[in-house]
Amino acid sequence: MTDATANANTAPAKQRVTPRGAKPRRRLSPANIMLYGTLFVASVYYLLPLYVMIVTSLKGMPEIRLGNVFSPPVEVTFEPWVKAWAEACTGINCDGLSRGFWNSVQILVPSVVISIAIASVNGYALSLWKFKGSEVFFTILIFGAFIPYQVMIYPIVILLREAGDVLSAITGTKIRLMGSIWGLVIVHTIFGMPILTLLFRNYFASVPEELFKAARVDGAGFWGIYFRIMLPMALPIFVVAMILQVTGIWNDFLFGVIFTKPETYPMTVQLNNIVNSVQGVKEYNVNMAATLLTGLVPLIIYFASGKLFVRGIAAGAVKG
């Protein structure tokens, strides 16, 4: 009986191809053309500005005036890059972006570290050590994510001034938060807190509760569990938080300009100065070079850790 069906099946198939093994797939099936076509078109949209930036930054001004934005440079020049980095003028300072770079780094590092440290502890407390009212504070925090920064500038300026005075009174030495890097760090911490806390809370909420209980039985306290158990586990979400904060803080202009002084202006402020200090014609090539230089740090971070980022998002962000 078995043989019969087998024969019945194979006999007519002698003429045709017997389906066997993997189904042959056409590379250029309509579905694939659609799929890759769409991705390609989308890629053009996303890449176009980067292309324009790079191409323009490598052209000389005369070429820019003549050609269109998309034509590749006839004569590649790195002049604009040099100028943007070291020579472009703002007011009477002609040292380009270089001045802002280290300032940005000096602002970035403590801001990222402190904001993430605080937010991760918040998220941890909110998910594993709930206390009466903790949810209320969290809700307020989330509302805070929606408040336009501009609205808060004025009161925060006053708050920082007062906080500085209070600290001065307590310590007896003159402490100024306003205008110091620490004021800016505080501001970044405050405004990074809602989203980061949400991120960490969701992540820690997804950590098996039994792990937490086991650690409690093992005699670990709030900080013991945080540092010894949770922190090592939360690497992906720390990567996400770090990327978000690095890009956010590095790209920040508003706080950087208000809460710092000229000698500590971050790179974005210098960028704004260069781009907006129009001397005669706009030097688009220098502007583009400056723009690229400013964006380089976050871009590198993204290119380097894109995979971890996606994994971290999957681990923490979408569970809320």
Binding site: P208, E210, L211, K213, A214, A215, R216, V217, D218, G219, A220, G224, R228, I229, P232, M233
Partner: protein
Amino acid sequence: MTNVTVKDLTLEFGAVRVLDKLNIEIEEGEFLVLLGASGCGKSTLLNCVAGLLDITDGEIHIGGRNVTWEEPSERGIGMVFQSYALYPQMTVEGNLSFGLKNARVPKAEIAERVARAAEILQIEPLLKRKPAALSGGQRQRVAIGRALVRDVDVFLFDEPLSNLDAKLRADLRVELKLLHQKLDNTMIYVTHDQVEAMTLADRIAIMRGGVVQQIASPSEVYNRPSNKYVAGFIGSPTINFFEGSITDGTAPEFLAADMKMPLAGYEASQGALSPRPAWLGVRPEAVITGTDVDKQPFTAEITVELFEAMGADTLVYTTLAGTPFRFRMSGQARVAAGDTLRIGFDPAQGSLFDKTTEERL
């Protein structure tokens, strides 16, 4: 000496009362199994004893001390969880020593205790590995080891074997039993697997809706369940219930549908059996087929409706006295659907429950 005492324990989550004035006393060195359906509050009780939940009312004493408000780590307990709850970033050794380090035990002693636990559990070769590189059974052993190194009096297990496959479960069950014999600690063990409960327990506490239904030795629970719920809960395949009544007369009989089942020799809880509506429970393995049938006080002819050959045994489904009826035969027996068989059992070896209170008679 009682080692763990739970007094009038009440626990509420918001408005929901999960545990209701619960009292249990556990002797030193006793192996108590908490058995019950999902959601009946077993884990909650265990967490209360461990101090991982703030109780609403009542007291908890461990080793003679009132520990109601003490931290979990101060109660002298070790706990093992269903999901193992190993610290994923630490090696096995790190997992074992974490609690001791927290308690600032001297390094040398930590090493010694870890070595001892590793030896007992035979996980020495694994000490340098991370939990991700362990199999389920090995992980569970490490989890037990974590409780072991702490040198505590009371071990709490929350379904420690549920995540393992059947074979491993059986093996670890035996190991646990041996471990208990060796250590002689007090153990409270939550499960909803009755085989585990039956084989491991010195006493089983059967819970339902936050209330303990019966707390007794496994054979007592199995053979003399205190109410219909316990009878139905314990035993696989499930006990058969006949609805009917106890008749008045010289020798008491149970009348189900048209069948008369003699109850001579039934050990009633309250002395004599008085006539009343009742349930009779008969376990599937109490039923006898083959040559010895006619020696049984009750016999009947049944038709096989369905059978499940499970290798060692065969389970036969039929109808008796108008209710579905299951019984067990040897795996070697040959039956087919539609066959007619003669079966017999002794109703007096079964259990009688009051129709309304469902309490054992």
